[in-house]
């Protein structure tokens, strides 16, 4: 065993985003205490914190830079992911402003929790050591358990939190067990050392190692809500406050995928024959269960939850493909997904009423003729989620499928495109209600500037990434 911390390996500049964000998060906590629950101040501080984090992420030159005994890395993947995280956390905070007002969520720690969660996500995307990955996952999960249950007086929210906590703790156990088995059979928790170790064919057939891999897949599979570890997702997504749901569907999921990708593409690429099939099955199941499940839903939050399961299935293809093209497609996909998901949830918030009412798809009947701009924005998000051009979702899927085709995963891609077709059915269903049904009840929509701003960012992002994706693709495929 090498010494755990050699002094010269501490690199605070590389760690800057984590430090900056932690400081800001604590500042938010303190301000909440002193500032007399001044929501605007808390929000402003959080947004500034996220901005500073994004800037400080670029402090380290040149990249890739490894520090802390090769357990923390600043590279292209982590930088891009940090940008996705800060954008999605900022959007979540903007979405929360008016929602919390309406639902009477007065907790100042709400913002601090989102920031701490983001810290965990940054760690997850930047670590190249199993221990660090575990730490990241725990930070993210604990914040999310609290966030999901933050509507304390609502029993659905409580149910969501408890369910998420119990199942999440269980999954974390699997993950940790997997890590110990991998450590036991390879002698290291560092991804590069593991990769070196499994070079030898003799090491690859170690049953303990294989067992460890399976447990890792279960653990990560739970965190990204893939089938058959998805049971929590619909209930938690439905019960959690809507901005938190949007946040969970984007940020933490992206972070889990970052770690998933790193572990399997960097530590175990040589063993891909032994995990490729298992992951492919999980991907295919996620697509089918997610899409078929979404068709049945009448509640829009549940529908979006199932749709996010199916998207997890598509994104798993990037992990299976594990090429550099796959990593850039993963980045592009997560960014596009962030824009369209936040946009869609923004509309859900606009149409929602106090006490999480008005979330049935039938509540959208006739929206197009009362509020055409809202309806057309929702249409854009849904079509983009369905992967229709000229929106971001199409370019993202094209990118992802290209990466898979390049690796020869034709069957998987064909299954994925068929699933895209299935998914169009339920996305269209919402459009049917908005455009083709008569209005049922008066719309009482809450058009607040901040929520509208998020929707606007969503629309601009979705269209821009769909029509002029060149700049972002160039960045992602650095």
């Amino acid at each position: 065993m090498e010494p755990i911390l050699a002094p010269e390996s501490i690199d605070l500049i590389a760690l800057a985003p984590v430090l900056v964000l932690s400081v800001f998060a604590m500042m938010v906590l303190v301000l909440d205490l002193w500032g007399g629950r001044n929501k605007t101040l808390l929000m402003f501080t959080s947004l500034v914190g996220l901005l500073m984090t994004a800037i400080s992420a670029f402090a380290k030159h040149p990249i890739p830079a490894y520090s802390f005994n090769d357990s923390y890395v600043v590279d292209h993947l982590s930088l891009f992911f940090i940008c996705i995280f800060t954008v999605s956390s900022a959007l979540a905070i903007l979405l929360s402003a008016d929602y919390n007002e309406r639902e009477g969520i007065r907790a100042g720690e709400y913002y601090a929790l989102i920031l701490f969660c983001t810290v965990g996500m940054i760690l997850l995307a930047s670590s190249t050591d199993m221990i660090m990955i575990f730490l990241g996952i725990e930070i993210v999960s604990i914040c999310l358990y609290v966030l999901a249950g933050i509507r304390r007086n609502d029993h659905k929210s409580n149910e969501a939190a408890l369910k998420y906590f119990l199942l999440g703790a269980f999954a974390t156990g699997f993950l940790l067990y997997g890590m110990t088995l991998v450590y036991g059979s390879t002698g290291s928790t560092n991804l590069f050392k593991i990769a070196d170790f499994v070079q030898h064919p003799s090491a690859q057939s170690n049953p303990l190692l294989l067992m460890g891999l399976v447990l890792l897949i279960i653990g990560f599979g739970f965190k990204v809500a893939s089938v058959p570890f998805h049971m929590w997702a619909p209930d938690v997504y439905q019960g959690a406050p809507t901005p938190v749901t949007a946040f969970m569907a984007v940020g933490p999921k992206a972070a889990a995928f970052a770690a998933f990708f790193r572990v399997f593409a960097e530590a175990f690429p040589k063993m891909s024959p032994s995990w490729e099939l298992l992951l492919s099955i999980i991907a295919v199941l996620s697509m089918f269960v997610g899409n078929l499940g979404a068709i049945m839903q009448t509640n829009i939050k549940r529908m979006l939850a199932f749709s996010s399961i199916s998207h997890a299935g598509y994104i798993l293809m990037a992990v299976i493909a594990k090429s550099s093209l796959a990593s850039s497609s993963l980045l592009f996909y997560m960014l596009s997904y962030a824009f369209m998901t936040f946009g869609a949830f923004g509309i859900v918030i606009i149409l929602g009423r106090k006490g999480e009412e008005n979330l049935e798809i039938s509540n959208y009947s006739g929206l197009a003729y009362k509020h055409p701009v809202i309806a057309i924005s929702m249409t854009i998000f849904l079509l983009s989620l369905g992967g229709l051009p000229p929106f971001a979702g199409f370019v993202a899927k094209f990118y992802l499928f290209s990466a898979a085709v390049q690796e020869g995963l034709i069957t998987l891609v064909i299954i994925a495109v068929l699933n895209s077709a299935i998914s169009l059915y339920y996305y269209l269903k919402v459009i049917v209600f908005m455009y083709m049904k008569e209005q049922e009840a008066e719309f009482k929509i809450s058009l607040t500037p901040m929520t509208l701003f998020v929707v606007l960012i969503g629309v601009v992002g979705t269209i821009n990434l769909g029509i002029f994706p060149n700049a972002i693709i160039a960045l992602a495929s650095h």
Binding site: L388, S402, L428
Partner: protein, 531 residues
């Protein structure tokens, strides 16, 4: 850039309409019409500047779009797309006039119509596979909205069915497009989705060709629609508003046949050659089946819809005759079907507006009280049958000539479609126009008004023009057809084909492990991954 302007003018017109006040209905209609007329006149200008003597792309623009992937905004026009392009702007204009009396959400209706026009125009001029796919999917949305919002009682079912059928087919095409993209990159080292480049350089084994051909075939066969993928068409037609049916029959179906001519034949000449019997038999089944089913329809619109299935069978047969007569016939028949069937739908729409029913049994003896209508209907019906001197005859004759050179039996079967067409059209005409004027509800029907005459008259002029003097139309695609036919001629299959056939295995994703490895090595290909 002129071509770009014409293509996107309707779309920006739609955006402009969005800012007009909803109450100003006349203003909205007039603006939409002005945009459509301007677009049509501009596209005529294209025609006059079009050089008939070359198969090369004209009015081309090629600027980088997604540089990181080597995808370009590449547009251009040759003889195959010119007439379809002009017909699109023409029918959009006719449709906007025909929709003058739409009551519900007129602004949104006109916006959808104009946006649809841009989508369709884009399909015909796109010369980059990625771009083609974008337009191909984009036009689905406005059409879906038109059927779903302004359609008949079962409009939601019909519109969703239309959308999903097309989407399923085209998604498999997307996989094929991605595969081709990587294959081209691997064999030539150029990352591109350029249609012309691919046409010249695509070199795949016969087995792979077959799989790719099938993927494209499915997308286009659903769109055409060929038997047995036609089931969405009667639903969509019956439920769509009149103008929706006109666009659907006039242009959307032609996107399928256009796809065959632009992709299947030039990309996969050898596979196309191999699949001729299959396509021919499917087309013949479509011709006869469509005609027989049309004969027993009680709904006028459904009858016309099934007649479309039958007529499109002719076009497919012409394309897969793979000789000049057949393809020329198919191309002119594309236009003819667009004119005649659109006119039929307009005429059915006129009577539906008055009586709110399309049941043949409800009518009878209309010729007595609506003479102008009856005359127009007669002319259009006869042109649909293919009476000599009218447009249908020219196309059908050429197609039959073409297919006869390939197989006399097929020609014989196809000819029976012409006879059946005469049966169902004339029988329908008799039941609607002649007989006794019995139904009291029909006693006071008004004849066509001048707006309706304006929509029908240009189509009737075209019917006779193409029927009597098709030369100006035919000569636009002569050079392109000659070029295309030379590509699908077995003598011109690339010589390397044989060699490849041997070295490859059995399936489409045929990459041997060594090839896979070399592909993987090229992962860091300079063009794809920008430094």
């Amino acid at each position: 850039m002129f071509l770009t302007f014409i293509t996107f003018l309707p779309f920006f017109g739609a955006v402009f309409l969005a800012f007009m006040p909803k109450e100003n209905e006349n203003g909205i209609k007039q603006t939409a019409l002005a945009i459509a007329v301007a677009d049509f006149l501009l596209s005529l200008l294209l025609w006059t500047n079009f050089d008939d003597n070359t198969h090369k792309m004209q009015f081309g623009v090629n600027i980088p779009w997604i540089e990181a992937w080597g995808i370009n905004y590449h547009i251009g026009m040759d003889g195959i797309s010119l007439l379809l392009f002009v017909m699109t702007t023409f029918l959009t204009m006719i449709c906007i006039i025909a929709s003058w009396d739409v009551k519900k959400h007129i602004r949104e209706y006109m916006m959808a119509m104009l946006a649809l026009s841009t989508g369709m125009l884009g399909v015909f001029i796109a010369l980059d596979l990625f771009m083609f796919y974008v337009f191909w999917e984009f036009q689905l949305v406005p059409m879906y909205i038109i059927v779903g919002v302004w359609g008949g009682p079962r409009r939601i079912y019909a519109s969703v069915k239309f959308f999903l059928f097309t989407a399923v087919g085209s998604l498999l095409m997307l996989v094929a497009i991605i595969w081709i993209y990587f294959h081209i990159q691997q064999t030539t080292g150029v990352a591109t989705a350029d249609i012309l480049y691919i046409t010249d350089h695509l070199d795949v084994s016969l087995d792979a060709q077959k799989w790719l051909w099938m993927a494209f075939f499915l997308a286009f066969a659903i769109k055409v629609p060929m038997f047995p993928f036609h089931t969405w068409l009667p639903d969509a037609h019956v439920e769509a508003p009149t103008a929706g049916s006109v666009i659907l029959a006039g242009v959307l179906l032609k996107m399928g046949t256009y796809g065959f001519l632009r992709f299947n034949l030039p990309f996969f000449p050898q596979a196309s050659y191999e699949f001729v019997p299959m396509v021919a038999w499917l087309s013949i089944i479509g011709i006869i089946y469509g005609a027989l089913v049309a004969m027993v329809q009680e709904d006028l619109k459904k009858l016309v819809a099934y007649s479309s299935v039958s007529h499109l069978g002719f076009i497919m047969l012409g394309i897969f005759a793979l000789n000049p007569y057949g393809i020329q016939g198919a191309l002119i028949q594309n236009i003819n079907h667009g004119i005649s069937t659109s006119a039929l739908f307009l005429l059915v729409g006129i009577i539906y507006d008055r009586r709110h029913t399309r049941m043949i049994a409800e009518f009878g003896g209309l010729a007595k009280i609506m003479p102008k209508y009856a005359i127009c209907f007669m002319i259009v019906a006869l042109s649909s049958i293919g009476l000599p001197g009218m447009n249908g005859f020219v196309g059908e004759f050429l197609v039959l000539l073409g297919i006869f050179q390939v197989n006399g039996l097929w020609a014989a079967f196809a000819t029976s479609g012409v006879i059946l067409a005469a049966c169902y059209i004339l029988w329908m005409f008799q039941r609607v126009m002649f007989l006794e004027l019995k139904n009291p509800k029909n006693m006071n029907l008004k004849d066509m008004n001048s707006r309706e005459m304006i929509t029908i008259a240009p189509l009737i002029v075209l019917i006779f023009w193409i029927g009597l003097y098709p030369e100006p139309f035919m000569k636009t695609f002569d050079a392109s057809v000659t070029h295309l036919v030379s590509k699908v001629n077995p003598e011109n299959f690339r010589p390397t084909q044989e060699h490849h056939e041997d070295s490859h295995g059995e399936h489409a994703q045929l990459m041997t492990p060594t090839e896979m490895a070399s592909l993987n090595q090229k992962l860091q290909m300079p063009v794809l991954i920008k430094e």
